[in-house]
Symmetry: C2
Subunit: 399 residues, 2 copies
C-alpha cells in the first residue's frame, strides 16, 4: 500500500495568491470597467536586454547544426557561465570563489526549496516572520514542521530578525529582504556569521535581490563577511537582476570550507553532498538559457540590465516617497524592489487589500500572507511599468 508523506497534510493551503485572485475576480464582476493596477506579485515587466536576446538566439542556432550541437551539459553548469559569475559577482567585490563552488540551476526557488534535503530531520530551522514561504514550506514537507523557529521582524527591530536565544542549527536569511525590503549592514550580517561559527550552525543566505542594493556599504554577498565561507551557502538569481523570471536561471555558492556534522559530531564538507544531489536529481540548465545568462555579464548586457534596475528603483522611489507624502509609515524601497508599508490605524492587512482595491483600484499583497508578524503591513512592488506605478500612487494619495 503506497503510503503518503503525511507531512504534506500539515502544510497550510497555498492560500495567498489564490485568495488574491479570487478577490480580484469578484471585484471585476462588480466593477467591470475599473482599471486595476497590479503591484502585488513580484514579477518583472520590462523586456529582456538586447545582448541577452542575441546570445540566446545564437545558442539556439548552434543547436540546429551538427558541428555545434550540444546535448547534456554538466549538471553544475557550463564553465563559460561559471567563470563570468565568479569574475563579475564575486572577484569584483574582493571575494574569491572556486569554479567547483558554483552550481548553476533553473531557479533560486528550486535551490532554496531543495537544499534542506542535505540535512537530518532533527535540525532546528530558523526563519524570519514575515518571510518568503518556500523556506518554511519545504521544511514542513520534509517533516521538520515542529522544528521551525520563527524570528519576528517588527518595527522595534527595524524589520530585522534578532539572533536566536535558543539553539538553532540552520538559519534562512534573505537580504535585501522579501517582503520587507530592508537590508543588513556588514556589521549586522557579521553578527550572524559569528553566531553560526560559534554554534556550528549553517546560514542559507538568499541574495536574489542583491542587484538592487544602492548603498555602497551594504554587502551584496555574505562572503564579503569574514568567516562566512565556513558557515554560509548563498543563493543568487537572474530573475530580478536581468528579468529572467520566465527564462529561468539562478545559481548557488557552496564554499568547500562549509562543514556539517554527523550524529557522532564528525565534520563533513558540505559541497560534495550538494554536487551529489544535483548530479543525481537534476540535469543542468538549458544551454540557450545559460548562454543568455552569460550575456548578462557582457558590457552591453551590464549596461542594459543596469538601466532596467534603475527603472525599477525609480518606481520604488516613487512608491516610497508617495506613500510617505500620503502619511504612511514605510520600510524598504531603497535597496530593494519591495516597499513594506504599515496599514493605517492597525487595519488588518486583508481589509487594507480590499480598501486599496475598492478605493484606488490598486492590487498589492497583504502582509499576513507572509506570516503572523506581517499582519498590519502590506507589500507593494516596484516591478510595474512607470506609468502604472505613477498612476497607482496618485490614486493612493487621493484615497
Amino acid at each position: 500500500m503506497a503510503l503518503l508523506n503525511e507531512s504534506y497534510l500539515e502544510l497550510a493551503g497555498s492560500y495567498l495568491f489564490s485568495e488574491i485572485a479570487r478577490r480580484i475576480e469578484r471585484f471585476k464582476q462588480e466593477k467591470p470597467d475599473a482599471e486595476l493596477i497590479r503591484l502585488g506579485i513580484g514579477d518583472v515587466t520590462q523586456p529582456l536586454a538586447g545582448a541577452v536576446l542575441e546570445a540566446m538566439k545564437q545558442a539556439v542556432d548552434e543547436l540546429g547544426v551538427q558541428e555545434t550541437f550540444r546535448g547534456y551539459g554538466p549538471e553544475q553548469g557550463y564553465d563559460f557561465l561559471i567563470r563570468q559569475i565568479i569574475a563579475h559577482d564575486f572577484l569584483s567585490r574582493g571575494v574569491p570563489i572556486a569554479e567547483d563552488e558554483v552550481f548553476v540551476s533553473d531557479g533560486a526557488k528550486c535551490d532554496t526549496g531543495n537544499f534542506q534535503e542535505l540535512f537530518a530531520q532533527g535540525n532546528i530551522v530558523a526563519v524570519s516572520d514575515p518571510v518568503y514561504p518556500v523556506y518554511a514550506d519545504s521544511n514542513v514537507m520534509a517533516g521538520r514542521g515542529r522544528n521551525i523557529r520563527l524570528m519576528p521582524c517588527t518595527e522595534e527591530t527595524g524589520m530585522k530578525p534578532q539572533l536566536p536565544k535558543e539553539r538553532v542549527d540552520i538559519i534562512y536569511l534573505c537580504f535585501p529582504n522579501n517582503p520587507t525590503g530592508v537590508t543588513l549592514s556588514k556589521e549586522e550580517l557579521k553578527q550572524w556569521v559569528d553566531y553560526a561559527r560559534e554554534n556550528r550552525a549553517l546560514i542559507l543566505f538568499d541574495a536574489a535581490y542583491e542587484a538592487f542594493i544602492q548603498d555602497d556599504q551594504a554587502p551584496h554577498s555574505i562572503f564579503e563577511i569574514e568567516g562566512a565561507r565556513e558557515v554560509a551557502v548563498e543563493f543568487r538569481s537572474f530573475s530580478k537582476t536581468a528579468g529572467f523570471t520566465g527564462v529561468r536561471c539562478a545559481y548557488t555558492i557552496v564554499p568547500k570550507d562549509v562543514q556539517v556534522y554527523d550524529a557522532a559530531g564528525q565534520a563533513h564538507a558540505l559541497n560534495p553532498f550538494w554536487l551529489r544531489r544535483q548530479t543525481t536529481k537534476f540535469n543542468g540548465v538549458s544551454y540557450p538559457v545559460q548562454a543568455a545568462a552569460a550575456a548578462v555579464f557582457s558590457p552591453a548586457g551590464q549596461q542594459q540590465i543596469q538601466a532596467t534596475i534603475a527603472y525599477y528603483l525609480e518606481n520604488a522611489r516613487i512608491i516610497r516617497e508617495g506613500l510617505i507624502a500620503a502619511g504612511y509609515r514605510v520600510f524598504g524601497g531603497v535597496n530593494a524592489p519591495y516597499i513594506w508599508l504599515k496599514t493605517p490605524h492597525g487595519m488588518p492587512s486583508w481589509d487594507f487589500f480590499d480598501q486599496l482595491m475598492q478605493q484606488a483600484q490598486v492590487v498589492g499583497t497583504p502582509g499576513a500572507g507572509f506570516g503572523a508578524h506581517g499582519e498590519g503591513y502590506f507589500r507593494l512592488t516596484a516591478f510595474g511599468t512607470r506609468e502604472n506605478t505613477t498612476r497607482a500612487l496618485e490614486r493612493i494619495k487621493n484615497m
Copy 2:
C-alpha cells in the same frame, strides 16, 4: 550544529561514468592517435528540428518586446503545451488525460528523482536490476536505502522484472527499458497494473523512450492499460524524442484517480500533492523551451523528429544485426535506442569495456554499472552518428 542527512553517506560513489572517463583518459595517453568511437553515454548527437529552432527563436524575440514579454509562467506548464501533449501523445492513442493531470518540467531525471518526496519513508520500493540509477539513489537519499527491493532481470526472464512475491508499495518500471532495450506487451504490463490495484501499490512508469517503439502492439503509455489511471504515474521526456537533452523539457502525468494512503488507511488523491510540491519548489520551465517543445507537435516538427528517430533506429539495427552476425547474444535495439549484449564467455563487463576500447577503440557502458545483474552484460547506444556507428560495428566484427 547543522546535522547532515546521513543517508547520503550510504550512497555508492557516482562511479560509473567517472570511471569510464578515467579509463578513456589513460587509454588516450597510451595511444594518442587512436580514434575512439563513443557509444556509451545515452546522449543524442543529431541537431534540433528546424521547426523547433524557429519556434524557440520566435519565443525569445517575444521576450524582447514589452507587449509580448512573459515573466513567471504557471509552475505546471503553459496551456499551449499541455494541450498539444494531450492531443498528440494520449488522445491519439485513445487515452483521455485532463489538463490538470499534466505537469511540465525541466527533465524526467528531476521528476523521477523528486517524486518519491510525496511518500512516507516506510514504503517498500521495488526497482529492476539492472536499472537507471536515479530511482534507487533518490530513495537512498530519502532514507529508504533498506527498503529497496531489487527485481532481477535475467536472460531467463527475458530481461523483464517479475511480479514481487513479498509486499512492495512503490514500483519503478521503465519501458522501453534503459539499459536493456526491452519493452513489455500490453498483456505483460496489465499484470503489473493488476498487481498494483490488488495491493494498493503505485507504479512510477518511466516512458522516456516511448518514441522508439516500432511494434504496433506495444503500449506507449501505461494508461493504455485498463485500470492504470488508478495506480500509475507516467514520466515522459522530450530529451530522446526530440533531441532536447541540452534544451530540457519533460512532463509527468498524475491522474486524478490515483490514490495513496495515510497511516490510518485513509485514501488521498495524489495529484494535489504533486501540484503542491511543484508550486512550492519549482518555478516552471523556461518559456522559449516550452514554445520549442510545443513545436515538436507541429506537422513540420513531427516529420523532422520522426526522421531523426528513424535515423537512430537504423543505427540500432546496424548495431544489433552486426553484433548478432559477430556471434553476440543481444537484447533490445528494436523498440529502443539501447542494445544490451552478453559479454563473450561470461567476461566481466569492465574487462569487456577494456577489451573493446583496446581492440576496437569503441567505448560502451559496462553492465555492472547498472546493478549486480548487469554484470556480464554491456550497453551500446544508437545515438551516435551513422558513420561512427557503422565504423564501430566493423571494428567489433574484426575483433
